[in-house]
Symmetry: C2
Subunit: 321 residues, 2 copies
């Protein structure tokens, strides 16, 4: 990855190295490698596909941090915080272009198509979301569309391009793509829940940050539907300039109405679906790896939630996955 | 273009339509059409290549306006002015992805390679430029590198991909690419000159805007080299927080030292080179069109300069092209 990214200019390399040193879980490249492993393949091709999807993910994070005015990313100052918005916009563009340039070295038009189409979905989704900020009338369906565009579509694409790279049969590719989709939903829902129940020390931002920025997520949508407390929640959220001192009362409603727990249940349901899809594939180390990836990834979150959300432990741990 | 861009979401379409209504000279697609016209070709392929390069140009303008804090673009409020930086970043990304998605519909890996590589050059060039702002020790060589990355490389790429789309022989493609390169230099130099000699009513921004933003261009580089007035210019530019009230004195030096006139001469020299390159191709309507495009494009500017820069008319109009 370093080899592909690095230029001859020390100023640019400094930014790129900063990004490379601050990598996350590398989930998307892992999905590419695992799905591709289900069939013999050219390792160089799969490596470049895996790098390309991570570059696209990195680019979208760099641009997202500009969009969200984020000061930190993975516990360190964000690129926009350290170098400003101008550098961030250009660095993101550079990463996108590098990804397409890399994929194009191989004859893989279906991969380019999947990735470019996915970026279109992600960007138009984010634009839609910006126009829907502070809209508390957002439906569950709209939330799932938003989640698809924000997270699930790139998870699905990662599995699809791994499958494309190793020429998996169409049927298996579809299963893997759906697996990625379900995992993406499970992951994003739990991320949205964590935003409410975590504290600054765990999350690096205050509880309810999403809501404070006008991003209405599943727990709030479910809370608003509650017959008893929905109206109270609505009146708390009515004011666009929501202050963080209302957050304890909002959180209390989300807990009391079961909106938090139900959201966790939905996440587990999507994880369950993902695992069921994977089970339809012939057993192999790759399939085992994909199962482990998904349970490992989400179990970590569920456990964090159990600790943070102690009193709800019994009611959620009963859900099977 | 509208067909390719438009989504199902009215908010996004509103932004895209706004951009589509405010198109410029469409230089780059014209270059694609004209170069492609030198040989029989599939019109659908060439149309998509032409659209793709314009989408990339549009994307880079939308992002540039965020980077330069530009309030207007082509006489109307810029996207960032009207919808904010967030929407602008995402709209640019959407346009980039749409361009790659479109090209990928045809089997044209060399076109994708040229375009993705060009974007990398453009972005890394802009990052370099940001680190070189207010650096008055920039050399002529560095200025030409900056100009190559900012303008000339996409002009060259436009000619190259037109040639690729109609399968022109390698030799002709190289000539056309070099033609684009020279035209790009001629165009950018004159744009940099106009920034000094135009006024707000013509340019929509005050004279010397580039310099005020720390962008050191050819006239200043040439002025600084003047034995007599170079040091005086240097002392005027020493202070990073250059105020616009110094601009009349700076402009006076640039005029007196011949830095403005010499820059115009360099631009004309590049135009001359471009026309000589084109003359090496077998005569055709396409070749005629490319010659007309370049002279028409630059003559308009030279004439504007003659009007603005009245007293220099005799000294510059002598240069042949």
């Amino acid at each position: 990855m370093r080899e592909i990214l690095i230029t001859e200019n020390p100023d640019i390399d400094n930014i790129l190295n900063y990004l490379l040193k601050n990598r996350g879980k590398m989930l998307r490249p892992k999905m590419v490698y695992l799905t591709a492993s289900l069939q013999p393949h050219d390792p160089d091709v799969i490596r470049d596909i895996a790098i390309a999807v991570e570059l696209i993910h990195m680019a979208s994070l760099v641009h997202d941090d500009v969009i969200d005015y984020a000061a930190t990313r993975r516990g360190r100052p964000s690129v926009n915080n350290r170098w400003g918005n101008q550098i961030s916009v250009l660095t993101g563009d550079y990463l996108f272009a590098t990804a397409f340039n890399l994929i194009n070295q191989h004859s893989l038009p279906a991969v380019t198509d999947t990735l470019s189409h996915t970026i279109k979905i992600m960007c138009s989704g984010e634009i839609k979301q910006l126009f829907m900020l502070y809209n508390i009338n957002i439906s569950e369906e709209e939330y799932y569309d938003k989640t698809y565009r924000k997270t699930a579509c790139l998870f699905a694409a990662s599995c699809k391009i791994g499958a494309l790279g190793s020429n998996l049969p169409e049927e298996q590719m579809t299963l893997l793509q759906q697996y990625g989709l379900c995992l993406g939903y499970a992951y994003q829902i739990i991320d949205d829940v964590l935003d409410f129940v975590s504290d600054t020390s765990t999350l690096g931002k205050p509880a309810g940050s999403d809501l404070l920025q006008g991003n209405i997520t599943l727990p709030v949508i479910l809370g608003l539907k509650d017959e008893e407390s929905g109206l109270k929640l609505r009146s708390l959220l009515q004011n666009k300039e929501l202050s963080s001192d209302k957050m304890p009362r909002i959180l209390e409603i989300l807990q009391k109405t079961g909106a938090i727990n139900d959201s966790i249940k939905y996440s587990r349901m999507f994880l369950q679906l993902a695992l069921e899809l994977i089970d339809k594939l012939p057993p192999s180390n790759g399939v085992k790896g994909l199962k482990e990836l998904s349970t490992y990834l989400l179990e970590e979150y569920y456990q964090k939630l159990n600790v943070l959300n102690g009193e709800d432990r019994r009611s959620t741990s009963g859900t099977s996955y």
